[in-house]
C-alpha cells in the first residue's frame, strides 16, 4: 500500500514541477540570472585595455554615494514618484467614480479617458512636445491670448521636471482608471441601496463603503505606480534628455546614460542593484502592512 502512495506522491511532484518549469526557465533566464549577474558585475571595476577589470568590493557604491549627480537624480526621482503616484491615483479614482455613475455618453467618456494609455509613450511625448514648445506650442498659444509671456516649460530647470511629471500623470491616470472601474463594477448595487435606506450621503457611502472595498485595487495600483515611477522614462528621450542641467533626469535614465553613453557598466550595475533593493523593500512594506488592513472579497 505504502508503495502505491509513494509512487502517486512522486507522480504528483513530477507533474507539479512540469507545470512550474516554463515559468521557472523563463524567469531564471530573464530575471533571476540577470539580477545576480548585475550584482556580481557591480562588485568589479571597469576594465580598460591597460587595467583589466578586478574585484573592488563596494567601491562602485561608495563612488556613487559621493557623486552629486547621483543624489540630484535620486532627489528628482523622489519628487517624480511623490507627485505622480498620489496624483495619478487620485485622478484615476475620481474619473472612475464619475465614469461609473449614470452619465450620458458613458462609453465615450471611458474611451476618452483610456486613450492616453493606448498611445505609445514616445507618441505621447511628441504630442506633449508640441504642447510645450515655446512660442508655437498650444500652452503658449493659449497663454498669449491672456497676455501671458512665453514660457519654455522644458527648457528651464525650475519647470522641466514638473512638465515631465504632468505627461506621466496624463498617461497613467487613464490606465489606473480601468482597474478602478473594473473594481467598482464588482461592488453590488444593493450596497448602495442599503446605504441609501440608512440615509448615508453619497460622500459617506464613498468613504465608508466604496473606498475600503477598493483597497485591494488601490494597493495593486500603488505598486504599479511605484514601479512606473522608476521604469517609465521613454518620454525623457523625446522631451528633455534629462536636462537642462540634470533638472529632469531620473535614475533609470542615468543608468542608461552610465551604461550606454559613458560605457561605465559597473557603476550602472551598482545603481541598478540599489534601485532593485529599494523597490523590493517598498513593495514588501506595502504588502505586509497595508495587506493587513485590506479586505479581500
Amino acid at each position: 500500500m505504502a508503495h502505491h502512495v509513494n509512487i502517486e506522491r512522486r507522480r504528483q511532484a513530477v507533474y507539479g514541477w512540469l507545470l512550474l518549469s516554463p515559468a521557472v526557465i523563463l524567469l531564471t533566464t530573464f530575471a533571476f540570472y540577470p539580477s545576480l549577474a548585475t550584482l556580481w558585475s557591480s562588485l568589479f571595476s571597469r576594465g580598460t585595455r591597460r587595467r583589466p577589470s578586478e574585484f573592488v568590493g563596494t567601491e562602485n557604491y561608495t563612488d556613487l554615494f559621493a557623486d552629486p549627480t547621483f543624489w540630484k537624480v535620486v532627489t528628482n526621482n523622489l519628487i517624480y514618484a511623490g507627485a505622480t503616484i498620489p496624483i495619478s491615483i487620485a485622478i484615476a479614482l475620481g474619473m472612475a467614480l464619475w465614469a461609473n455613475s449614470k452619465i450620458p455618453a458613458r462609453g465615450f467618456v471611458r474611451t476618452a479617458y483610456f486613450t492616453p494609455t493606448v498611445l505609445p509613450m514616445i507618441a505621447a511625448a511628441n504630442l506633449w512636445l508640441f504642447f510645450y514648445t515655446p512660442g508655437l506650442g498650444v500652452l503658449d498659444q493659449i497663454g498669449s491670448l491672456f497676455g501671458l509671456p512665453s514660457v519654455n516649460w522644458l527648457g528651464q530647470p525650475e519647470t522641466a521636471l514638473w512638465a515631465v511629471i504632468v505627461v506621466t500623470i496624463w498617461k497613467e491616470a487613464g490606465f489606473f482608471m480601468i482597474f478602478y472601474l473594473a473594481a467598482l463594477q464588482t461592488i453590488p448595487e444593493d450596497l448602495k441601496e442599503a446605504a441609501d435606506i440608512e440615509g448615508a450621503s453619497r460622500w459617506t457611502y464613498t468613504r465608508r463603503i466604496v473606498l475600503p472595498l477598493l483597497m485591494p485595487t488601490t494597493l495593486f495600483i500603488m505598486v504599479n505606480a511605484l514601479i512606473n515611477s522608476v521604469k517609465l522614462i521613454d518620454h525623457l528621450f523625446i522631451l528633455t534628455k534629462g536636462g537642462p542641467n540634470d533638472a529632469s533626469k531620473l535614475i533609470l535614465y542615468y543608468i542608461w546614460e552610465m551604461a550606454f553613453a559613458f560605457f561605465d557598466a559597473p557603476h550602472a550595475a551598482a545603481m541598478t542593484i540599489l534601485v532593485l533593493v529599494v523597490l523590493g523593500v517598498v513593495a514588501g512594506i506595502k504588502f505586509t502592512i497595508l495587506d493587513k488592513r485590506t479586505h479581500y472579497q
Binding site: D190, A194, D196, I197, I209
Partner: protein, 345 residues
Amino acid sequence: MATPFVHVENVAKRWNGQLGVENVSLSIPRGSFVALLGPSGCGKSTTLRLLSGLELPDEGRISIDGRDVTTAAPSDRNLSMVFQSYALFPHLNVAENVVFGLKVRRVAAAERREKLKRALEITGLLGYENRKPGELSGGQRQRVALARAIVANQPLCLMDEPLSNLDAKLRASVRKDIKKLQVDLGITVVYVTHDQTEAMSMADMVVLMKDGHIQQIGAPEDLYYRPANTFVAEFVGSPPMALIEGAALPGFEGVPLIGLRAENVHVAAPGQGRLRCQVSECEFLGSETFIGLTHPSATGLTVSMPGLKTIPAGQSLDIGFADEHLHFFDASGQRAETRPPRPAE
C-alpha cells in the same frame, strides 16, 4: 378600519415603455404583516422598491403614516429594508454592519452600544460581533440583515425575499422568527415572496400579483377559499385548484369553468363517480399520496389518498365531490359568487 398606515394609490411604473406595475392600489393597516406574492416578474419587487423609494413611480401617489412620500428619498420614509442578498457590507464586521445606519444618523456611542446589544440579543447573534459577513453561514447573515433592520427601529420594514437563499429547513424556523419579531416589535412588515407557503403562513394580508397587476388582496383564507379569478385559484394551494369545464359535468353546462380543491375530491367506486379520469402520476408525501389525474376537459385534477398508494399510470379512476365545494368562474376567469342558473331546458 382607521386611516391606513401605508396607502398606495393607482401607482404605475414603466421602463422604456415596458410594463413594471400598473394600477396598483393598496391600503395597509398599521401593525399588519402584508405579503406581496406572485410568480417571478409579476412586479412584486417593483412594488416594494416603489414603497422604499429606491424607484419612483411614473403615476400615482404613495403615503406612509399620513405623509405623502411619493417622491421622498428612501431615508425620509422612516423604513428599514432587508434585501434578498442581505446587502451586508463585506468589509465591516457584524457590529459595524448593524450600527452603520445609527452612525450615519449620529446616534451617540453609548446608545449605539445598547441598541446593538438588544438587536443582537433578539436575533441570537451575541458573540458574533467581530465576525465578517464572509465568516458567517447563510442563516447567520440573514439574521445580521434582520438585526440591521431592527436596530433602525422604524415602524415599517420592507423585506425582499429574505428567505430565498436559505435551505428549506432553516426557512421554516426563520419564518417563525420573523413573524414573532413582527408581533413583538409591533411593526408593519411588507414582505415580498414567490413562495405561497411563506405568504400564507405569515401574512395577515396577501397581495397576489401577476404581470404588474394586483389579482387579489385579502386574508390568506380568502385567497384559498374564495379565489377572485382562475389565476389565483391555480396559484394558491398545493396542489393548486383544478379547473373543470362546466360542459363536462352534467347539470353545470352553463358554467364556463368550475374550480375544485384536491381535499374535496374522493375516489369513488367504479361507475359511481362524477368524472372518469386517467391516473398520470403518484406523488408520495408520507402521510398521503397525491394522485395526479388527467381528463380531457380538466386541468390540474388531483386526489389525495392516505398513506402510500401506487397506482399504475393510465389506469382509470372515478372521482366524486360535493356541489358545495365547487367554485364557479365566468368566461373571463372571474369568480362568480353564485352558481349560474341552469340553461333553459
